[in-house]
């Protein structure tokens, strides 16, 4: 079957032009904006990140504050 034979019978050339222009318009808005958006993000560089919270074991022994009864031999 050739492409020309498989076209939807009810679809007119005008319908196709209108829908094609619709897609073109939407993509011409969304993609340039997205590109601008990404380029701006790159230009600005990474924002400062708050001091990361360290996990794992503490470097030195943890001492109980004086007078506390948390650790009693």
């Amino acid at each position: 079957m050739r492409t020309a034979d498989s076209v939807t019978p009810s679809l007119s050339g005008g319908d196709v032009i209108v829908s094609l222009l619709g897609y073109a318009a939407v993509y011409l808005i969304v993609y340039p904006f997205g590109l601008w958006f990404m380029l701006r993000a790159v230009k600005r560089g990474p924002t400062a990140i708050a001091e990361p919270v360290s996990g794992g074991r503490p470097a030195g022994p943890v001492k109980a504050p004086p007078g506390s009864d948390a650790v009693k031999p």
Binding site: S10, D15, S19, Y23, V30, F33, F37, A41
Partner: protein, 332 residues
Amino acid sequence: MSIVPVWTVILGAAVFFYVVLDGFDLGIGILYSFAATRAERQTMMNAIAPIWDGNETWLVLGGTGLLAAFPLAFSIILPAVYFPILVMLLSLVFRGVAFEFQFGDAEHRHTWDHAFSFGSALGTFAQGIVLGAFIQGFHVEGRHFAGGALDCFTPFSLFTGLALMCGYALLGACWLILKTEGALQEKARRWARIAFLATFASVGVVSLWTPFVDADIARRWFSWPNILFLSPVPLATALTGFLWWRAVARKQDVAPFLYAILLFTLSYVGIAISLFPMIVPHHFSLEQAASDASTQIFLGVGTLFLLPIIVVYTGWSYWVFRGKVKGNIGYH
């Protein structure tokens, strides 16, 4: 033995999941422009950000399932609703990118706010037109749609477009009741009540309008003894409405959403009763529009293998993001 019933269930389930799931996040888009503050808008978006795109995948399953399992129906219905489908897709593009741009682009936030709310509203309206046009049926000659591209815009389909906007707004407001707290939740209850009254009235109007414009549907519902077997459907709808109203009045969090889904289920069942077993109303039944049995079996094996996986990971993502949305924490 025919596998058509299996595909009928798969397609029916896909459309139903789509309507309920994407329904509530489109509904939040419709309600979005009624939010008063930036914080409220942020919370509304955060309430759907992790799940909205997953919800939309059901539309893909519905569309490709129709193409693969019922190609004759696809080739008639899609050309008949060419422009509403086009408008829906373009609207969903705007609404989809709005999530990403809105979170990262403070200067143009208002533009993307509008893209989100108008995209959601217009996309829903277009879906409602598709529904209305489908119920009314299409001008078919032989095995082709023989009408014009603008035939689908009728008073009835424009009404179902508005009705679906009310319905999705109801689902969205109920989702907000479920996911938020405090002042926004109170506001969502008010939105939900308004949307509920509009939805309930619309369901009533459509239920009376369809038998008037369509003798087949009237016969299906009102002939004896059908009227006896089918009268529980409108009665259950009325009961669900009562339970919904009571759940909101009692300030319950989850029940309004569940009753709203039940309301959608009953409306869906109502449409199915009106049209079954036709997939192109008045012209072709599911059996007549089905693709070859070997095609349906081949595709059915893959689909029935994948569907449980999709359901499980969807359920899991809802579980991960369970609980109330807090104003300052969100997944982008």
